[in-house]
């Protein structure tokens, strides 16, 4: 189980690198889709069918929107001559990555290893959601009862996003007035 997840994760990392370095945007989008669907498989293996279902539809919608955006553009990735500044950026980011990994490695010593999670806040959720809320799907029970405010907030974020898209896609921001230029 753990080994299978490791293999999938390594593949996802490779796909992510491919997406970032792809020569044209279509292959980048497809590689990104690979990462997303890999995540769906991971969710299934980790016993989260709820998330797998949501992720698969959301990933599809995201892909559709990205494709709609790049549909009639030149899909070529911009040629990137490696200048002096780029070398600095690259070497700096590699140093940072190494540093972060080192400290992450040290920081997680002593935390619960994979699969040996203990319950604290959710112990009561697991035991009593069924009787208290009557929702057979524990995730939904937690989502709409104990953490209902989060969920309302998330719906609000979605509302905000719709309003923002309508704002951003207005053709002109100001009314034309003769007194102003």
């Amino acid at each position: 189980m753990e080994n299978l997840l490791i293999i999938i994760l390594v593949l996802m990392i490779i796909a992510a690198l491919a997406a970032i370095h792809a020569k044209d945007l279509i292959s980048a989008v497809i590689a990104q889709g690979f990462v997303g669907y890999g995540l769906v498989i991971c969710f299934f293996l980790l016993k989260a069918p709820e998330l797998a279902l949501v992720q698969i539809v959301l990933e599809t919608v995201t892909l559709i929107i990205i494709l709609a955006v790049i549909y009639d553009s030149s899909m070529k990735e911009i040629g990137e001559p490696i200048g002096k500044r780029d070398i600095v950026t690259y070497s700096l980011s590699f140093v940072l990555v190494a540093l972060f990994l080192y400290y992450f490695n040290k920081a997680i010593v002593g935390l619960n290893p994979f699969g040996e999670h203990t319950l604290r806040m959710s112990e009561m959720y697991v035991k009593e959601v069924l009787e208290l809320t009557g929702s057979a799907n524990l995730v939904k029970g937690v989502l709409w009862d104990f953490r209902g405010l989060d969920t309302l907030g998330e719906a609000t974020v979605l509302f905000t996003a719709a309003m923002s898209v309508l704002v951003i896609l207005r053709i002109s921001g100001k009314k034309h007035q003769l007194t102003k230029k």
């Binding site: 806040m121 905000t160 309003m163 207005r170």
Partner: protein, 510 residues
């Protein structure tokens, strides 16, 4: 004071935001009326809560009681610090929304503006009240997302670009914060901030807390625009419509950045000297570099935006000094002084930076330019703008009877008492440079010879009302430091910070 009143702080603006697209169908003018009314109600509520002075309210959403002493519901926590922030947020929000009525008339799609503004206020009030780490993240997202859209409201080239930069950096910061939340959950198996604080007290690994705290500094540092992460701020704050710039610079960066850093680092995490030194260094850096960047700016709103970076630096410096003193366990007087200065500067900066952005908007509205070289001679035509911006400029550069003087003085005093002479020197130098570029602003905008354009008119009455009230506040805020009045407003907030991890035991009652 009834406990449930605190949910109204975000329920009312959310209700307004959701109802405005519907009322717009019947009367297109209704959002203009609803938003100021909502912000006025919120301002009244926040003042009422401060006057009632509840010690502390811990309100659980859904009414779930803790099981075996482990809180299971989302908690909303009202204490001195929250009350302090709520008053500032809703004060600036009220004056900005009144100002916006006339200012926004030349824009299209006004209903979206008011909807997004209400959402932003709701998000900020929620951040301040939330006692749950993930809930705090969600509210952060609400206000951040609406501010991204509001920055792009003019949909011109530079506004779109600024918004894109802001969104990418802000989105990255949000994900870094979420990663930090995942790490915290991994260690503590809980999300309630009081419970996290309790669980972190008996953690063994001592690299983990430092790592997580650095992650959160990165995440919330981007939101607060501390110096290495400041790239988005000058663009975003200068591109937004002026009432929104006032909100962004006045309260948003403080709520999403500084307030959360204060709450997490003092009340939730264990105090750690090395992390406090990192904060102090970032604060000092922001203070001086922000000032130097502002000195070279000729675009008025850009100058104000750069100066916001430097003032965030002042606030973080005060916070850092206090944290270092507390973690050393010595000299509590210096820590109290540093926190007082820091919090007082938050309040002052919200008022005078909000006012300055409103002034910049008024100049843009009347003279239709933001470039200081093209202004000139406005003193004759715009007396209200002149006096109010003079009051704000004096306050921001720390001239005596105005409020800015006292907060800067207290921070510098705290630095001297705790032995950080270098930081104190930096603060003094930054203050002098601030004075010089606000003199520049006054001279070029109001006193130079007129640029020869057609004479400009003073802005409409509602805009004047906001500016005059804020200008009066600039003077009156100095009163807050007097002993009697200080106990009502500033001291509860300082005490909340000084209590550090007693926060947890007060909420959980153990």
């Amino acid at each position: 004071m009834e406990e449930w009143i605190i949910i109204l702080f975000f329920v009312i603006p959310l209700f307004g935001a959701f109802v405005m697209p519907l009322t717009y169908l019947f009367s297109p003018e209704s959002p203009k009326l609803i938003t100021p009314v909502i912000t006025l109600i919120l301002l009244m509520l926040s003042l009422y809560s401060v006057i009632c002075q509840p010690e502390q309210i811990a309100y659980s959403i859904g009414g779930w009681k803790p099981v075996d002493n482990v809180p299971i519901a989302i908690y909303l926590v009202y204490d001195g610090l929250s009350g302090f922030m709520l008053v500032i947020i809703n004060l600036v929000a009220f004056f900005s929304s009144v100002y916006a009525i006339k200012y926004m008339e030349e824009y299209t799609g006004q209903k979206y503006f008011y909807v997004l503004m209400c959402l932003m206020i709701a998000g900020m009030n929620g951040v301040v009240l939330s006692g749950d780490l993930f809930n705090l993240f969600v509210f952060t997202e609400i206000s951040a997302k609406s501010s991204y859209a509001l920055v792009a409201f003019g949909v011109k080239k530079d506004e779109l670009e600024a918004s894109f930069k802001y969104q990418v950096l802000g989105g990255m910061a949000s994900l870094i914060i979420l990663f930090g939340i995942a790490m915290i959950y991994w260690q503590t198996q809980t999300l309630n901030m009081a419970d996290i604080s309790y669980m972190l007290q008996n953690a063994e690994n001592n690299i983990f807390p430092v790592f997580v705290q650095l992650i959160f500094i990165t995440g919330f540092g981007v939101k607060a625009a501390l110096i290495p992460f400041h790239a988005w701020l000058p663009d975003a704050h200068s591109s937004a419509p002026s009432p929104i710039s006032a909100m962004l610079s006045g309260v948003l960066i403080k709520t999403l950045g500084v307030y959360v850093i204060m709450r997490l680092y003092l009340s939730v995490f264990q105090l750690n000297e090395s992390v406090s030194i990192v904060l102090l260094a970032l604060g000092g850096l922001s203070m001086i570099i922000g000032v130097l960047l502002a000195f070279g700016a000729w675009d008025l709103k850009r100058l104000l935006a750069y100066s916001s970076i430097s003032h965030i630096g002042y606030i973080i410096t005060g916070l850092g000094i206090g944290m270092i003193m507390l973690s050393r366990g010595e000299n509590h007087l210096a820590a109290t002084l540093a926190f007082t200065g820091s919090l007082f500067h938050i309040a002052n900066h919200a008022v005078f930076k909000g006012l300055l952005f409103l002034n910049a908007g008024a100049i843009e509205y009347a003279a239709n330019t933001r470039d200081m070289k093209q202004m000139g001679g406005l003193a004759k035509f715009m007396p209200v703008t002149l006096t109010s911006s003079f009051s704000a400029s004096m306050s921001i550069s720390g001239m005596p009877p105005f409020s800015g003087f006292f907060s800067k003085l207290i921070i510098i005093l705290a630095a001297v008492i705790s032995g950080f002479y270098f930081i104190a020197g930096l603060a003094v130098i930054a203050g002098i440079i601030t004075l010089s570029y606000f003199m520049k602003f006054q001279k070029y905008a109001f006193y130079n010879k007129p640029s020869g354009k057609s004479p400009v008119k003073e802005v409409p009455g509602l805009m004047r009302f906001s500016m005059i009230s804020l200008a009066v506040l600039c003077l009156l805020m100095s009163v807050l430091i007097l002993p009697g009045i200080r106990d009502g407003f500033l001291n509860p907030a300082v005490n909340t910070l000084m209590e550090t991890t007693e926060y947890a035991s007060k909420i959980l009652g153990r």
